[in-house]
Amino acid sequence: MIINSRFFNRSELIGFLTLALLLFVILPLSLDVFRLNLVAKYLTYAFVAIGLVMCWGYGGILSLGQGVFFGLGGYCMAMYLKLEASSVANTKIQSTPGIPDFMDWNQLTQLPFFWKPFHSLPITLAAIILVPAFFSFVIGAAMFKRRVGGVYFAIITQAIAAILTILIVGQQGYTGGINGITDLRTLHGWDIRTDHAKFILYFVEVILLFACIVAAQFIRLTKLGRILVAMREQEDRVRFSGYSVANFKIFAFCAAAVFAAIGGALFTLEVGFMSPSFVGIVPSIEMVIYTAVGGRLSIFGAVYGTLLVNFAKTALSESFPQLWLFGLGALFIGVVLAFPNGLAGIWQDYIQPRIDRLMAARKNPTFKLPDNSVANGAPAE
């Protein structure tokens, strides 16, 4: 196996630059602020999708509970924004001023203890990373140390997503219930509802997205990434070689959770609210769909897959609301049956070789293309 010592090989560099060009230049120039904000909303899911590439595509751990971490990140951010929005001056008509409005409606007279740290922005930013990391560590440690994996892990993470949703909906006074935390206005005094703020937030988000892409690519290229792939293919051999399989799995799962949480926090900022409908089973599985459509082995593919599915969703549900679920279902079945590696797989199998052949033919008519499928981490059949 040839291990590429460069950070990006040529085609990955082209992919990176194309995506950067698209997100930094083409989309902001061609879309109005409303559409750009939609793209920003879609891109928050791309964080989750990149996390899933790490943990599902490379590590082989299918988590159906990424919505949990997306939600935890989002709720941490929403709690901070909500506390800022419900200052004593803003809420003086309530029976208890200074607490969020939904608490007042539910006869709470005091801020619950777990809301108190969210008065501070630095603690909030730390919590967005640390709370999901801690949760995923506990879940991962409990499961992987006992060698629960595969299907069982998927079902249990799904159950956890269900539990968290029921809990949020049921504890209306503490969480805002089914409506979620709404009416968010400012971030540290900066109004996030203006067009200007949305524009800036979009760029902040894209920069963070590229930071995550680079981090994911870094993980993929180090020994850690190699071990993840090895673990997916032959877990026992990796274990017999002396590696602690559970720890690597926990790491991949935690990394995916942190990515998802960053996406969730940005989602709250972009959209201006957070609700349990982004936490439960259905959104969690939809996030897996994005990754599957984009290609579970491709970091860039996950971003394109997220954008594509969401654009299709918006377009179809705007014009043919009846057809959307048919379309999504068919897309999913089609991708799984015919293209298990998604868009990136189609690109790699059909389009890339042609481009390479064209380039090679131009340079040197007798050039033979090296087989690079193993080096790219494609699963062995």
Partner: protein, 308 residues
């Protein structure tokens, strides 16, 4: 939370909530039996299982309407016809799905999860287009209404006992088919060693198809029972799928006895807790307990000892 009740009150509460949990238990058992066959025996994760159940519920609803309109004198007995029709409809759809979708994915269990999720979305939208987005309720015949006064403070609903008895019969039938009939032996042979089963002359593709059909058909019967506790809507099946998977996993995937025991534990815990606290908290505590136990004992309650 027990402080406000006297001991005899508590006894009556537990008994009544216990019987109230019986219908839930029956639906869980029937759903989980189908899933235990599909997941435990075939290794396929059927996320559309809830939609097969809802198909059975819609068939029951249609049957009751047809009987009410064209054969009112037979209406008291419609439920038996509805169950058989529900079994046939869900089973036939299951076999079709196996042929078109599942058989290509036997080597990739996690992908069956994703593909059947897509299928469940399609089915939900199909129900919404055909039957409308509004939930429909089934009218029960007169003899199923009311309840049986066991003691002064304990009342047992008749439809609960009926569904319960039915569940027992179906469970025995499934156990017989899987463990004593020659077809059941073929199923287990295919599960244990597909290549070898093929070599001794078992038509493995046919066995797969009928096994999947049987599991889905039982889900259809579960849908019939479901019409008694809830109204049927396009997305009602989705609410039960996670619970059902937990029932199967908690019981130990390949064990029918475990499935029944875990369905009983889960439905009774849920139903008893529900009396003392809000429904959502009862559910959260039940699910958390299951997840916690599964973390300590991943193989489930009744695990078969198999060498891998």
């Amino acid at each position: 939370m027990f402080g406000d009740y006297s001991l005899s009150d508590l006894g009556a509460i537990f008994a009544m909530q216990g019987f109230a949990g019986l219908i839930l238990f029956s639906v869980y058992v029937l759903m989980a039996l189908g899933l235990a066959i599909i997941f435990g025996q075939m290794g396929v994760i059927n996320m559309a299982h809830g939609e097969f159940m809802i198909l059975g519920a819609y068939v029951t609803w249609m049957t009751s309407n047809v009987f009410q309109k064209y054969a009112p004198w037979l209406f008291p007995e419609y439920f038996f016809a509805a169950m058989i029709l529900a079994f046939i409809a869900s089973g036939a759809l299951g076999m079709l799905v196996e042929w078109a979708l599942i058989r290509h994915l036997y080597k990739r269990p996690l992908d069956t999860l994703l593909a059947t999720w897509g299928l469940s979305l399609i089915l939900q939208q199909a129900y919404r287009s055909i039957f409308g987005a509004r939930e429909v309720g089934v009218e029960l015949p007169a003899w199923m209404m009311g309840s049986w006064q066991a003691t002064d403070s304990i009342q047992i609903p008749i439809n609960g006992m009926f569904v319960m008895g039915l569940t027992v019969l179906i469970t025995i039938a499934v156990a017989y088919v899987l463990f004593w009939s020659s077809w059941g032996k073929q199923v287990r042979a295919v599960v244990q060693n597909r290549v070898m089963a093929g070599a001794v002359g078992i038509n493995t593709e046919k066995v797969d198809r009928y096994t999947f059909g049987l599991g889905c058909g039982i889900a259809g019967v579960a849908g019939s029972a479901f019409t008694m506790i809830g109204s049927t809507g396009p997305t009602a099946g989705q609410l039960y799928i996670v619970d059902t998977f937990l029932v199967v996993v908690f019981g130990g995937a390949a064990s029918l006895l475990g499935t029944i025991a875990s369905a009983f534990t889960i439905s009774q815990t849920d139903s008893t807790l529900e009396f003392f606290m809000s429904g959502s908290m009862a559910k959260v505590i039940t699910l958390l307990a299951i997840v916690a136990i599964l973390m300590m004992r991943p193989q489930g309650l009744f695990a078969l000892k198999v060498r891998k």
